[in-house]
């Protein structure tokens, strides 16, 4: 069987560089979450978030080993099954999921909160890889050939949008669109598809509840909510800007420690880091993300087959979009939308799915020299 091919050559081809990059980012993340949970107030000292984050990283490494060990071609073969399971989980969220901050995103499995939408990010990449592997073409794809992928994207998109989790829904669409663009699409087909999407927007709008509409309005127009999202962005920009070149020092960020900065462990982790470590720290972190992305892109380029390339490229898109939207948001150039920063934001499901993605990349990298049998 393919997935049992865990031979020594796999280990020999193990991508230590990628692991080093990821672990560096994770280490920064732990320090940063420690700082975000730290407080002058003795009673609140030693918030357990960073401990939990370490636990999630360890679990993530296990997930990474699993996705590394199972041959990605086997995973691509089973992509439709995985996709169906992910869809089923998303439907289960709507029935059994519990609600936090007005949004129904989590399933509780053995006391652990788990976010099926994170699984969906990877399975949409796998399913698109499988589809395009099955429908290889030297010509740009036409609209007719893109109907199936469009349906495969729309279903999870709507399910996640309904939670509502605009950020993840948006990421799903962005990753998929990037993959399709990369594979090659007929310009006419693209125009028709995008105009179709624009026309269907009012229909989607119609299905949304009032509070969801409000969220969308605020998403596109943060000034409508100056004490909410607008306030957060202002405080975030102050945090980043006041960090200056060298930063205020570890645990010394006033915006962070005095709680002017919102959502410090999750969406606004980058602001915490930039305040305490300054431009120097922010620069290093962005360079690390760039290394991650370009290293992944190299893996996509050298992948043995199309499905490997598409999976690796999809993961490149996953990281790039998440980093760009998250940092763009905290720097005040993109609207506020809840997307975590990979390996830095606190959150179990996201950590697991990012780590699994890294495992996949290593997997594709390890198999790049192996011949078809």
């Amino acid at each position: 069987m393919l997935f049992l091919k865990f031979d020594r050559s796999n280990l020999h081809n193990f991508d230590w560089t990628l692991l080093a990059i990821v672990l560096s980012i994770c280490a920064i993340g732990i320090l940063n979450i420690y700082s975000a949970g730290y407080s002058y107030d003795a009673l609140e000292r030693q918030s357990p978030f960073y401990i939990k984050q370490i636990q999630w990283i360890l679990l993530g490494l296990i997930a990474m080993i699993i996705t590394f060990s199972i041959d990605y071609r086997f995973l691509a073969k089973g992509a439709y099954v995985i996709y169906c399971i992910a869809i089923a989980l998303l439907i289960l969220v709507h029935i059994f999921g519990y609600t936090m901050h007005g949004s129904q995103r989590w399933l509780s499995i053995g006391g652990l909160a788990f976010q099926p939408s994170e699984v969906m990010k990877l399975s949409i990449i796998l399913v698109l890889a499988r589809y395009f592997e099955d429908h290889k073409s030297n010509q740009p794809y036409k609209l007719r050939e893109l109907i199936v992928p469009a349906l495969l994207i729309m279903l999870p998109f709507l399910l996640i949008l309904k939670q509502p989790d605009l950020g993840t829904a948006l990421i799903i669409v962005l990753i998929s669109a990037s993959i399709i663009f990369f594979i090659g699409v007929n310009w006419k087909s693209f125009l028709i598809a995008s105009s179709g999407a624009l026309l269907s927007a009012p229909i989607v709008w119609h299905f949304l509840k009032d509070y969801q509409k409000d969220r969308l309005i605020i998403f596109f127009n943060p000034e409508r909510d100056p004490l909410g999202a607008g306030y957060h962005i202002i405080q975030s920009m102050i945090a980043v800007g006041s960090g200056g070149l060298w930063g205020k020092g570890f645990l010394n960020g006033t915006q962070t420690q005095l709680k002017f900065l919102p959502e410090q462990q999750t969406d606004f982790v980058f602001s915490v880091f930039a305040e305490e470590w300054g431009f120097t720290g922010g620069f290093v972190l962005i360079i690390l993300f760039m290394s991650l992305v370009f290293w992944s892109l190299k893996i996509a380029l050298h992948a043995r087959d199309l499905s490997g390339t598409v999976i690796a490229f999809g993961i490149v898109c996953l990281f790039s979009w998440q980093v760009f939207i998250n940092i763009g948001m905290v720097l005040g150039v993109l609207p506020v939308v809840g997307i975590p920063l990979p390996f830095l934001s606190y959150g179990g499901s996201a950590m697991l799915s990012f780590m699994a993605a890294i495992g996949l990349l290593m997997n594709i990298n390890a198999h790049r020299f192996i011949l078809h049998r």
Binding site: Y40, D41, F182, G184, Q235, M237, I238, A239, V240, G241, S242, G243, G244, L245, T254, Q255, L258, K259, F260, A274, G278, F279, G282, F283, I286, F289, M290, V293, F294, L297, A300, L301, H302, A303, R304, D305, L306, T309, F313, V316, S320, V323, F324, I327, G328, L331, G332, V333, R368, F369, L371, H372
Partner: protein, 625 residues
């Protein structure tokens, strides 16, 4: 080796590599955008963001300095600081606001206390910012809040200094009042003040503000997003203000206030040897403590619109016709100009006619043949009508000016008025009319255009009493630290000398002595045994004072038609130590109303017991009322 595998690497075609180049470019652009934005915020905008970050978290809390204590010449406290107790509410600790207020209300009700609920509370972003619920509450409320602090989480008592004036209204127009520095003061370039500072608004509090106010301190604290105090970043202690010793003698001040007994008027006493003011009373007055808790707009309007102007210090700002007290100046002018001699006898039949106008003496049937001494003692008007006619207005003005009248005395006090000494030229310039000789006639007995402040009157008599030295009246003896180290001493200032002959001084001094001590004198109510009081009564007619717009307005109210009672005196006759000038508005005759107040003050000054006073004098005082 490598080739064997790469050949088999299916997707790697030239078009494929091209696509990757595009992706690399797009990714480079995206990351560059992030880095540029990061550079912009952290390097270009760093100063602005640092400031915003600091104003987010750093609070500059002013520490009010303790104002200097004001005492009189004997060390009696006139202005002090008192702790004010405020009920303060901290929403972050209180949690349940409605329940808290309800509990407080129940506790208050048991003691029949009313709660002041003018403070509005809403949801607050800064729950650790204290809110003053009730300012300057009484000890009962303090006791209620302190005793029940366990059941009133989030409520506590805060202490801040307020001004205490133990003599209340008695010294209010002298000491003035304090308040928060106004926007105008700040805009007038008084850079030493900042918003929220306490400053003197009137009277001594204003004049001595630079010494009294001290320097406010500050506390730099770091707060979190809930305004909860996290740590102290530094503290500059407030420096208390200097203490001030006034020349005032509280006993005289008190006697003057009680003497006026609710009548509107002014009393000023000063030391003719150096111009030190011993008492300065203006009535009606105001409650200076009104300003402590922040005066309401209503109260402020009432004070300002009161027709009796309680906010005016009449000693320096009230202008009155001097009445017969002016005869001293007219007599001195006449003697010096050689118009009369002490022996000059004039006939008074009760009237004096000039042209078609008839002027009356206060004594209906006249004084008969009378010479200067008795004319002053009995205050004969007709004698002075004649003298005035002979002198002319400008000669009178010349001598009035020598006595320091017609211009400010130079006392360091807000809103001092200059009074008015008319001349022919003045009338031509100001009223565009020539002087009528008839106007000189009434001028000679202190009626007409001429106006004096009580302080000018006292100072003119003081200059006479000390033999011709015009001192600048002063209120402040010295400024010192709490430990008694002297910061500034105020030395008396001599402004002029009155060039009268010794003979004139002697003649008039004896006449003024006669006013109080001789049979038939108009000021006998001021007689004090062994004190040798010299003085002059005056009764100023209010009707016919068209020059003063305030008086004109007051004319419409009939009670204000009554004459002003004036009395000015000094004692002892030789080497005088004290001068007192009294104006009691619309109170009647000077000898009957004003002189007894002077007597009381003289008694206190010379420490004379009640039993020493001859009953006859006391009776005069009572019937005079």
């Amino acid at each position: 080796m490598e080739n064997r595998f790469t050949v088999l690497n299916v997707p790697e075609t030239p078009e494929f590599r091209q696509k990757f180049k595009i992706v690399v470019t797009v990714l480079l652009i995206i990351f560059s955008l992030l880095l540029i934005r990061l550079w912009y915020l952290q390097i270009i905008k760093v100063q602005e963001m640092r400031e915003k970050s600091e104003s987010n978290a750093i609070r500059y809390r002013k520490i009010q300095s303790l104002r200097g204590v004001i005492t009189d010449r004997n060390g009696d406290i006139l202005a002090d600081n008192l702790p004010s107790f405020d009920v303060v509410y901290m929403p972050g600790i209180a949690k349940n606001h409605e329940q808290l207020i309800q509990r407080l209300q129940i506790l208050y009700n048991r003691k029949n206390l009313e709660i002041d609920l003018s403070q509005q509370f809403g949801k607050t972003m800064r729950p650790y910012l204290p809110v003053k619920l009730e300012k300057n509450v009484g000890m009962e409320k303090v006791a209620v809040v302190e005793a029940n602090s366990v059941n009133l989480p989030g409520l506590y008592i805060d202490v801040s200094p307020v001004r205490l004036y133990p003599k209340k209204e008695m010294t209010a127009s002298l000491l003035g009042y304090i308040g928060e520095v106004g926007k105008d003061d700040l805009e007038n370039g008084e850079s030493e003040y900042s918003l929220g500072d306490i400053t003197g608004k009137y009277g001594v509090e204003k004049v001595l503000d630079p010494y009294l106010r001290g320097r406010s301190g500050a506390e730099l604290v770091e707060v979190n997003v809930h305004e909860k105090q996290m740590q102290n970043l530094g503290r500059i202690e407030a420096v208390p203000g200097y203490n001030t010793v006034l020349t005032i003698d509280t006993r005289l001040q008190e006697a003057a206030w009680l003497g006026l007994n609710g009548k509107a008027g002014a009393v000023v006493a000063l030391d003719p040897r150096d111009g030190a003011i011993l008492a300065m009373v203006s009535a009606p007055s105001f409650d200076p403590h009104l300003f402590n808790a922040g005066i309401s707009a209503e109260q402020w309007k009432n004070l300002l619109n009161n027709p009796l102007s309680p906010m005016t210090n009449r000693v320096v700002s009230g202008q009155y016709p001097p009445g017969s007290t002016y005869k001293l100046i007219v007599a001195a002018a006449a003697l010096e100009e050689g118009i009369i001699t002490p022996q000059t006898k004039l006939f008074c039949d009760g009237t004096f006619t000039m042209g078609n106008r008839t002027f009356r003496c206060w004594k209906k049937h006249g004084h008969g043949q009378i010479e200067l001494h008795r004319a002053i003692v009995e205050s004969c008007d007709v004698y002075f009508y004649n003298v005035g006619k002979m002198l002319g207005v400008d000669k009178i003005a010349k001598y009035a000016n020598l006595f320091g009248l017609g211009k400010e005395t130079g006392i360091n006090f807000p809103n001092e008025k200059s009074g008015l000494i008319p001349t022919q030229q003045w009338k031509l310039e100001r009223l565009k009319q020539p002087w009528h000789p008839g106007e000189t006639i009434s001028l000679a007995i202190g009626q007409g255009y001429n106006l004096l402040t009580p302080l000018q009157l006292a100072n003119a008599y003081a200059s006479f009493a000390n033999g011709g030295t015009v001192w600048q009246p002063h209120l402040i003896k010295r400024v010192e630290t709490a430990e008694g180290r002297i910061i500034k001493k105020f030395e008396p200032v001599k402004t002029a000398t009155i060039p009268l002959s010794k003979k004139t001084f002697e003649l008039l001094r004896s006449a003024l002595w006669g006013v109080v001590n001789e049979q038939g004198g108009t000021g006998r109510a001021a007689m004090v045994p062994n004190a040798d009081v010299c003085g002059k009564t005056g009764t100023a007619q209010v009707v016919g004072l068209p020059q003063d717009p305030k008086a004109r307005r007051l004319k419409k109210i009939s009670a204000f038609h009554e004459d002003h009672a004036l009395f000015v005196c000094f004692a002892p006759r030789d080497n005088p130590e004290i001068v007192i000038a009294i104006v009691a508005e619309n109170a009647g005759h000077g000898g009957a109303v004003a002189a007894p107040i002077a007597r009381k003050m003289m008694e206190i000054y010379f420490n004379i017991q009640e039993s020493d006073i001859r009953p006859q004098v006391a009776n005069t005082a009572e019937t005079g009322r």
